[in-house]
């Protein structure tokens, strides 16, 4: 009986958090500079991708290096579906866009359908790679998914009648706004957290802890690994779709291995397997990336004048990652998760101290 009440209480609190988030988005849209809103958008997209990536790498313990490939699939799908017909003719000037995509374009109201389609295409790709490689134990998934990202890069460069090759697609309408990104980030965290706390999540963690024992306890290894991998691909696809409609362009170089590396930094820094960690670190990462632009600018330190070094940010991130691996191996949050119960007990403790 008491447990039932906590379930209802948690639902109410989650609903309140959603309302608070909506107020926050409304306020941000009204009062923050467009630059800051853009950083917030990027942060939310990172949350979607990182929480999804964490599901396969951190929760299920299968080392995938594929999210850039899945994001590219989602991004191109959304771009091709949403690009207006007039733009399609203008952009594809070397080879016209192949049928049937040259004959229709989604109206703005179908943006959500396009995002879903982007997710589904990425999920299908994950299914195709996952079925052979997830049967095997060890590093095969890492190798196959790394290769997959490279294949997608080559396809994006060379299937000109679909992707417009190296020129990429420009003029994609900017449908992504903070309502979409924050809303989908919230939905991602909520759904993934529910899944991870369910029997499916326990099966995934059991696979991470010990595959042989998980199978001996009746867990279907392939099914549960595939579930995590396909969901993770779906979320990466959605994140890719959001990304291209935020910056209104997509090209093969947008989703290179560097994107996967960024996500890997996020989930390792946050603590592999912690949804809380992935969420918070994704936001911190998006802001750090902006703040650290400073280190790439020309600098004058005392008598020395340093020219700007592009890519210096990644050096800083890499150094951070190395330091963390040495001093704080489990990441900022380890496997810790925040829950409403904990928030309430903190607040209560605070009050007791005040009295």
């Amino acid at each position: 009986m008491e447990r039932k009440n906590t379930t209802r209480r948690d639902m109410i609190l989650t609903g309140m958090l959603l309302v608070l988030l909506m107020i926050g988005v409304a306020l941000a849209n009204r009062y923050l500079s467009s630059y800051l809103v853009r950083v917030l958008n990027t942060a939310c997209i990172y949350v979607v991708a990182a929480v999804g990536y964490n599901l396969i790498n951190g929760i299920t313990g299968q080392f995938s290096l594929g999210p850039n490939g899945f994001m590219a699939i989602g991004g191109y799908t959304v771009a091709i579906l949403m690009l207006p017909l007039a733009e399609k003719e203008a952009v594809y000037f070397i080879y016209p866009l192949m049928w049937p995509f040259n004959s229709f374009s989604f109206p703005p109201s179908m943006f959500v359908v396009a995002l879903f389609a982007g997710g589904v295409m990425a999920a299908l790709a994950a299914l195709v790679i996952g079925i052979p490689t997830l049967r095997l134990r060890g590093d095969y998934l890492a190798i196959a998914t790394f290769g997959f990202g490279e294949i997608i890069f080559i396809i994006a460069n060379n299937w000109i009648s679909l992707t417009n090759g190296a020129l990429g697609i420009k003029g994609i309408p900017q449908y992504t706004n903070l309502w979409w990104t924050a809303g989908l980030a919230f939905a991602t965290v909520y759904f993934v957290k529910s899944l991870v706390n369910s029997s499916y999540g326990r099966a995934m963690k059991a696979i991470r802890e010990n595959e042989v024992a998980a199978a001996a306890m009746g867990v279907d290894l392939l099914r549960n690994k595939l579930l995590a991998f396909v969901l993770s691909g779906f979320l990466a696809g959605v994140a890719g779709g959001l990304f291209v409609t935020l910056i209104s362009t997509v090209s093969p170089t947008l989703f290179t291995f560097a994107m996967t590396f960024n996500l890997l930094i996020i989930i390792v820094l946050g603590g592999l397997g912690s949804i809380t960690g992935a969420t918070i670190t994704a936001v911190i990462f998006a802001f750090l990336q902006e703040i650290l632009r400073e280190v790439e600018a020309p600098m004058t330190i005392g008598p020395w004048h340093l020219p700007g070094i592009p890519g210096m940010r990644m050096v800083v991130f890499s150094a951070l990652l190395v330091a963390l691996m040495i001093f704080y191996r489990r990441g900022l949050f380890g496997r810790w998760e925040i829950s409403w119960q904990q928030v309430i007990s903190w607040l209560k403790r605070e009050r007791i101290q005040h009295e």
Binding site: V192, S194, L195, S199, N210, V212, A214
Partner: protein, 259 residues
């Protein structure tokens, strides 16, 4: 031994070859409902290989595993568990970073009916299933006297309790046949005594047939009604503990031949 009751497990000509090594050669065994049988033999005799073939980790090179009237030697380990064979491991394989309660609940996943979509949304139906599973797991922990550590990480338990949790986790799959691989390994005499009583109790309470690998003769002779002896992949003796104790072949396998 008890020929009147049903044959639960029948191993027929089971053979396992790794490259040039014959780990198990033409192994035969019939287990009946309610048996408690010990499998002993020197290190490397092939005992664990037999377990791995029964539970589906290995596919035997030759021979059949018939469980409850069905051939199972080519099925996946999780399917075999679903049919009613559960096992523990010689080197403990708990889900270390999961709580004791979650370790038990993993065993329920194979029989879960709810879809992942219901779990993701957190539908009232799913949440009530989850509550039922939690309660079932907790009462199992009470039955094996581990409920006081239900929320601790499995890896933080003392050794004896880890062994007990492994057995409890196997019982949570509702097995008809329980395979215990050296449950007393590394235990002190007091823990061993406790374990012997524990095995006898779960056999009665959970109504399971038990096949047990053990090096500790006190355990095997103390609780098993029938003992099989293996050496170099073949069965060299089969009988009551008393008969085994005086079998010259067994003495030879363990102590060598007097020249």
């Amino acid at each position: 031994m008890n020929n009147a009751s049903n044959t639960l497990l029948s191993l027929q000509g089971l053979t396992m070859v790794f490259g040039g090594l014959v780990a198990v050669n033409d192994f035969n065994l019939d287990l009946h409902d309610g048996d408690l049988v010990g499998l002993i033999g020197p290190n490397g005799a092939g005992k664990t290989t037999v377990f791995n073939m029964i539970s589906g980790q290995y596919i035997p090179t030759k021979g059949k595993v018939i469980f409850d009237g069905q051939e199972v030697q080519r099925l996946m380990p999780n399917v075999i568990t679903g049919l009613g064979i559960a096992r523990t491991f010689q080197n403990i394989r708990l889900f270390g970073n999961l709580s004791v309660l979650d370790n038990i609940m993993v065993s329920f996943h194979g029989k879960l009916k709810a879809s992942f979509i219901a779990a993701m949304i957190g539908t009232p139906g799913y949440l009530s299933t989850e509550r039922d599973l939690r309660e079932e797991a907790y009462s199992l922990l009470e039955a094996v006297e581990l409920s006081d550590v239900a929320y601790e990480d499995a890896q933080s338990l003392p050794y004896g309790k880890q062994r007990r949790l492994e057995i409890a986790r196997a019982l949570a799959t509702h097995p008809k046949l329980l395979l215990l691989d050296e449950p007393a390994a590394g235990m002190n005499p007091y823990e061993t005594l406790h374990l012997m009583r524990f095995i006898q109790r779960i056999r009665k309470d959970f109504n399971v047939t038990i096949l047990l690998i053990e090096h500790d003769m006190k355990v095997v002779m103390g609780i098993c009604e029938r003992v099989l002896v293996m050496d170099f992949g073949i069965q060299i003796a089969d009988g009551t503990p008393d008969k085994i104790r005086n079998d010259p072949k067994v003495i030879e396998a363990y102590l060598g031949v007097d020249e």
